[in-house]
């Protein structure tokens, strides 16, 4: 059966992602050197940066899918967008939590309303709002249309989050570049970025499966009613 082959393929991808994250964590914690200025706690970079990347990647995918939906009205684009928001919200919340854990021992505080932190919190709330919009609309087509509009408008904040550290004065440091990180720390960072991207792919495929099943159930019960 087609569905079962796909489920099995997803399981292999899931196992690959799991293995990659295991290697990434071991490398980050036991192989990479500590930082000269921050000491051991700097290792939080290896999870904070990848979760932030996945959050933004996810919202970018939502943005593209929302535009595609409005152009083509294919419910599959809406299903991918919905899946992307849910996963993006999970990873953005995780980014904020990890950032807070990193801030306390280095900056000396858990939280401050600096532009980077504030715009990130707004980003999280906006996409939680997207999920609320979906609960509000009953008719699947209307729901998809409204969601697509929110998915496009919400993306305005994503580049603002990224550029906030260059546009305004912040406590948060500007983005690191390949030159500002020593090579023996850059490689484990790249590995973790790749590993988290695999996790993202796996979660998206599974979340899409769920959206597919939900849509089928919604259609069938609507016919029966």
């Amino acid at each position: 059966m087609e569905r079962e082959t796909r489920d099995r393929r997803h399981r292999w991808l899931g196992l690959a992602a799991l293995a990659a994250v295991v290697v990434g964590t071991v490398w980050a914690l036991f192989v990479a050197p500590p930082d000269a200025a921050q000491g051991e706690v700097q290792r939080l970079m290896y999870v904070h940066v990848p979760t932030a990347w996945i959050g933004m990647l996810s919202f970018f995918v939502v943005f593209v899918m929302s535009i595609l939906y409005l152009v083509q009205r294919d419910p599959r684009w809406d299903m991918i967008a919905h899946s992307g928001v849910e996963i993006g919200v999970v990873f953005t919340a995780l980014t904020l939590a990890l950032g807070s854990l990193w801030a306390k021992p280095t900056w000396g505080i858990w939280w401050t309303w600096d532009p980077r932190l504030t715009t990130t919190a707004i980003m999280l709330i906006i996409y939680v709002g997207y999920l609320a919009v979906r609960g509000f609309a009953q008719d699947p087509e209307k729901r998809a249309r409204w969601s697509a509009v929110v998915g496009i408008v919400a993306f305005v904040d994503v580049p603002i989050v990224y550029l906030s550290v260059t546009w305004w004065r912040t406590l948060h440091q500007p983005p690191s570049t390949a030159r500002s990180i020593a090579p023996e720390m850059l490689w484990p960072l790249f590995l973790n970025l790749a590993a988290f991207t695999l996790v993202y792919l796996y979660l998206m495929l599974r979340r899409y499966r769920l959206a597919e099943a939900e849509r089928q159930l919604e259609e069938e019960t609507a016919i029966g009613r």
Binding site: G14, V21, A28, P105, V199, L203, L210
Partner: protein, 71 residues
């Protein structure tokens, strides 16, 4: 190891827990919706099979094979 250990443990632990828990919850949600679909298919096919065009008439009155699952 310096005083970083609790922060590292919390950070990496939280990351792992959130990802694994989310993936696990996803499977549970998929399973639940697919169960609902299967039940729905069974109930509609049971209505259609014996009497022909009775689909949409609601759950069947005939004795059920799995009464606990019928809605």
């Amino acid at each position: 190891m310096d005083g970083s250990l609790p922060y590292l443990a919390a950070g990496f632990g939280l990351t792992w827990i959130v990802m694994v828990l989310y993936a696990w919850r996803l499977e549970a949600r998929i399973g639940r919706v697919r169960d609902g679909l299967r039940r729905h298919d069974e109930s509609t096919s049971r209505v259609e099979a014996p009497g022909g065009r009775t689909a949409g008439a609601g759950p069947p009155d005939e004795p059920d094979h799995r009464p606990e699952e019928a809605r």
